[in-house]
Symmetry: C2
Subunit: 131 residues, 2 copies
DNA sequence: TATGTGTTATAGCATTTATATAACAAAATA
DNA sequence: TATTTTGTTATATAAATGCTATAACACATA
């Protein structure tokens, strides 16, 4: 698991953490069932407070990416049956991006190209680590 | 121009304002060259402080959606040649959404369907106001 | 027993958010 | 000309958020 924090970013650390872990899961750098570092361990590795990591983990748990218990720590538990459950937030985020694209004069096809490029990028990184 | 603020939302008011105006431009409810209400007027209409509106306008200006001057107030100035200029942020946002989609087990095709649905939704609302 | 989990509580500090006034120069209007 | 309206800037205040520090708890493991 590779996580890099930009301390100069205007994005909150716990948000960066949450996003990077989601990316790591998406590119299968971490897979279902894998254990994540403990909140204290990861906090020490990143030079960050324990509560900041804990906050990220709690959000990921609430979003259905992780399961937390005292036995096995933080475990990746991606629910692949989630398709229809909580896509509402994703729909809204998508709508926001599409609105911005329209304002920039992008066509539907151009935006779908952007999407497939993003998809490829993630999958390619995945392959990169496999080889 | 229709703007609704959710005062109970965890999203900052000036962010909500910024997003709603982008939506209004996307659905052509406001068009290139149109004047927006003055910061004081809109603030009063929404029951919000002047500086909050000013912050939203300043961001929209910085992002290239508006032009501000004392002559005409806030004017929509969408640059349709922006396609390649500042798509980097959009690419990153897209990548984040795609990563989330992958984690939920969505295929590329399913995500592209979500995108085209979002596109239609915005365009349909536009038609609704035209009729 | 000692250590390592997630979890909770409290506190402090810096930054952000939103507000309230106030004032300015420039432009529009009466 | 005088008044109003524009964006803009400056201070100040209160509340919320982000991050840290320290400590403790119940539970599980070695």
């Amino acid at each position: 698991m590779i996580i890099e924090i930009d301390f100069n970013s205007d994005e909150a650390i716990y948000i960066q953490l949450r996003n990077q872990i989601v990316f790591d899961i998406a590119r299968e750098h971490i897979k279902d069932g894998d254990s994540l570092p403990s909140v204290r361990q990861l906090a020490m590795d990143l030079g960050v407070n324990m509560h900041t990591v804990n906050k990220a983990y709690a959000i990921l748990k609430q979003e259905g990416y992780l399961q937390l218990d005292r036995r096995h720590g933080a475990v990746v538990a991606v629910n692949y049956d989630n398709k229809n459950i909580d896509c509402q937030i994703m729909r809204e985020d998508m709508k926001m991006i599409v609105a911005e694209g329209i304002c920039k004069g992008l066509s539907l096809e151009e935006m779908q190209l952007l999407l497939s490029q993003a998809y490829k990028e993630i999958k390619d990184i995945e392959k990169l680590f496999k080889n």
